[in-house]
């Protein structure tokens, strides 16, 4: 489905874009020898240049690979999506539902709805996660978890 060649080129393009962004952004800071010594942008500019040049090299050597080798086949992609999409939804839901509600829904959803674990198993695991999060972080280590829009609306 996705060839090794395409994956190499995609990654090189990603790192290259980052490299260019670093270069542009450090040019604004000044990249030479200034009144106070080496200007703030100098070393970031150097690293940006290295990232860009290295990415170009990787892009070219990726492009020269034989297109045959598959890196991610349909099965792999399905399994990857099966982990990544629910996880990304969970992260996206945190500002809305808060850490507790979204964690519980995430665990229950993945176990019961996605992987057909029994209702009891889903509920027990989700409750255990809720309790562990609350007692370990909120109580023991005093990390204030975000309540999200929902929690604020309900006044938690």
């Amino acid at each position: 489905m996705i060839s090794r060649r395409a994956l190499e080129m995609l990654t090189a393009a990603l790192t290259g874009t980052f490299g260019v962004a670093v270069c542009v952004s450090s040019l604004e800071l000044g990249i030479a020898w200034g009144a106070a010594g080496v200007s703030a942008g100098t070393l970031p500019f150097c690293t940006g240049t290295i990232v860009t040049a290295g990415s170009l090299f990787n892009l070219v050597s990726g492009a020269r690979m034989a297109p045959g080798e598959t890196a991610i086949d349909a099965d792999n992609a399905r399994r990857l999506a099966g982990l990544f999409l629910p996880a990304a939804t969970y992260i996206a839901a945190i500002p809305l539902l808060g850490m507790y509600v979204s964690s519980v829904l995430y665990v229950f959803g993945v176990l019961h709805l996605q992987h057909r674990a029994s209702l009891l198993r889903g509920l027990v695991t989700a409750t255990a996660v809720l309790l562990a999060l609350y007692f370990l972080f909120e109580i023991t280590f005093r990390v204030y978890m975000p309540r999200g829009w929902l929690g604020n609306a309900l006044g938690f």
Binding site: L7, E8, L10, T11, L14, T15, F18, G19, A21, V22, S25, S26, L29, W33, A36, G37, V38, S39, A40, G41, L43, P44, T47, G48, I50, V51, G54, S55, N58, S61, A71, R79, L80, G82, L83, F84, P86, A87, A88, Y90, I91, I94, P95, M99, S103, Y106, V107, V110, L111, Q114, H115, A117, T125, V129, L133, F137, F141, V143, M145, P146
Partner: protein, 503 residues
């Protein structure tokens, strides 16, 4: 030397308190847990625990974190041997002979060979630290900024020259790490750098967030893609077999010694435990008279990678303590912790905080003994954990990483950054970009930059300062050789097949 022994005894007095022993047990247990679980390893396990140590005194905190590291190294071997699933990248080489031996009905023997040689490897690393650390630190006290910059340069160059990954990919990973380290307020000029329009990035990108994404999320994605199928062999530990195997271990002294030497070398020059274990396995296979038995459950095939893995993991703390240059990703995370606790890793640490340094070194002797005993006792428990299906573990590990990233500075941006680092981590792992130099550069990027800019101030902008003085020149030349090394090896490598073809 006698002074070192005096200090070491003093360190034992500090480390042997009931409170510290409790922390050792706790750290080792947590370490075995993250070592066994796929997607959680030593670097992100230590990062997860890091925010929780801010209220502790530094000696207790480092004992907890370093023991977690030892535990994780041991835990990684358990799953390699019993399930053919390396819990840690550095225990991949242990699966080659460990799993076949366990599968053929000798799980206890395989585990004992692994733990025994691991403990001896770790011992070699700690002895090296005991003997050398204060000496290196004393030499480094005379270092100025140019020397420090040259040491950093050497560390980065050795990643490229000896890390084993494609050199240009290593270079890209390193440079990205440096750029990430530069994000936020510049400590010298006060200018805000590379925030790309996101105001909250003024606080910079924490290495904890990066590690959580790169190692945690990235490894989960790799694990789900490979669809782990657990084919467990019996996880019962037979104590008589443990004793018998331990008695056989001295017969392998030559392999042990060589592997420990490889490990120490790779740990001090930041090649890291993973590269060390592979190199040591390769050497053992090539030099062994029982060459053909490798891959079928040969004891030397377990001893070599395990001893090298642990001696590299342990000796990676030597450059971290004495020079402020960590030798592995986990050592980099611990060094980040040291800086957060207000300590300054490097030669001054030996002068200013001898209690901390020697307490840590003494705890390394004790922590590894605690780890061997605990790991043997708990093998059945942790093996049972592996029977929990992966689809259940994955969301739990994901939540742990999310909460871990969030709790660094109570910021949702960090959670999104972690996700981004996760995707990068997956892509990099799949395409054999190394992750350790990326993390290393994020942690020590600012220090390396400061050293460079200080040197430039001293020389009024002339690069010549890096070839003035014997020490600096040697270090710089050594770095350059290491940088060119992969090129030379590639050229030789290209010629060899041709010669072979004409034969």
């Amino acid at each position: 030397m006698e002074n070192n022994i005096e200090w070491l005894l003093h360190g034992f007095a500090i480390a042997a308190s009931p409170h510290h022993l409790f922390l050792m047990v706790l750290g080792v247990m947590l370490g075995i847990l993250v070592g066994v679980l796929p997607g959680l390893g030593a670097p992100n396990g230590v990062s997860l625990l890091l925010p929780l140590t801010f209220g502790m005194d530094p000696v207790s905190a480092i004992i907890l974190l370093s023991c977690m590291y030892w535990g994780a190294l041991f835990g990684g071997s358990v799953t390699s041997i019993l399930f053919n699933i390396p819990g840690e990248p550095s225990s991949v080489a242990t699966t080659f002979d460990g799993y076949p031996m366990a599968r053929d009905g000798h799980p206890t023997r395989a585990l004992t060979y692994a733990f025994g040689s691991a403990a001896l490897g770790a011992l070699a690393g700690v002895v090296l630290i005991t003997v050398l650390a204060s000496w290196v630190a004393k030499a480094a006290l005379a270092f100025g900024s140019p020397e420090f910059f040259a040491v950093y340069l050497l560390a980065f160059a050795s990643f490229i020259g000896m890390g084993g990954s494609p050199p240009i990919k290593t270079l890209v990973a390193l440079a990205i790490g440096f750029a990430v380290a530069a994000i936020g307020i510049d400590t010298v000029s006060g200018a805000v750098r590379l925030t790309m329009g996101v105001d909250e990035l003024v606080k910079g990108v924490s290495f904890v967030v990066a590690v959580m994404g790169l190692f945690g999320i990235g490894e989960l994605l790799i694990a789900v893609e490979e669809e782990i199928k657990v084919k467990a062999v019996s996880s019962k530990v037979e104590w008589r077999e443990v004793g018998r195997t331990l008695l056989k271990l001295p017969g392998h002294w030559w392999v042990l010694l060589r592997s420990a030497a490889v490990g120490c070398w790779m740990g001090i020059t930041p090649g890291g435990p993973t590269a060390a274990s592979f190199m040591s396995y390769g050497l053992a296979k090539r030099l062994s008279p029982r060459h053909a038995q490798f891959g079928k459950g040969e004891p030397d095939g377990i001893i070599a990678p395990e001893a090298a893995d642990h001696s590299a993991g342990t000796s990676a703390l030597l450059p971290m303590l004495a020079l402020g240059v960590p030798g592995s990703a986990t050592a980099a995370v611990m060094m980040g912790g040291l800086m957060i606790w207000g300590l300054n890793p490097g030669p001054m640490l030996f002068v200013e905080k001898p209690d901390f340094v020697w307490g840590l070194i003494a705890s390394m002797y004790m922590g590894n003994i605690v780890a061997v005993i605990l790991v043997l006792l708990t093998v059945p428990i942790f093996a049972a954990l592996m029977r929990v299906p992966f689809f259940m573990l994955a969301p739990l590990i994901f939540i742990v990483c999310t909460v871990g990233a969030y709790s660094v500075s109570n910021s949702y941006l960090d959670v999104m950054l972690m996700m981004g680092f996760g995707v990068i981590g997956y892509l990099f792992k799949r395409l054999s970009y190394p992750l350790a130099p990326l993390v290393l550069a994020i942690v020590i990027g600012d220090k390396a930059e400061d050293a460079f800019r200080q040197s430039m101030l001293m020389s009024k902008g002339s690069l010549e300062i890096f070839v003035h003085g014997k020490l600096v020149t040697t270090l710089v030349v050594l770095s350059l050789i290491l940088l060119v090394l992969p090129l030379i090896l590639q050229m030789i490598g290209r010629r060899v097949p041709k010669v072979a073809a004409t034969d």
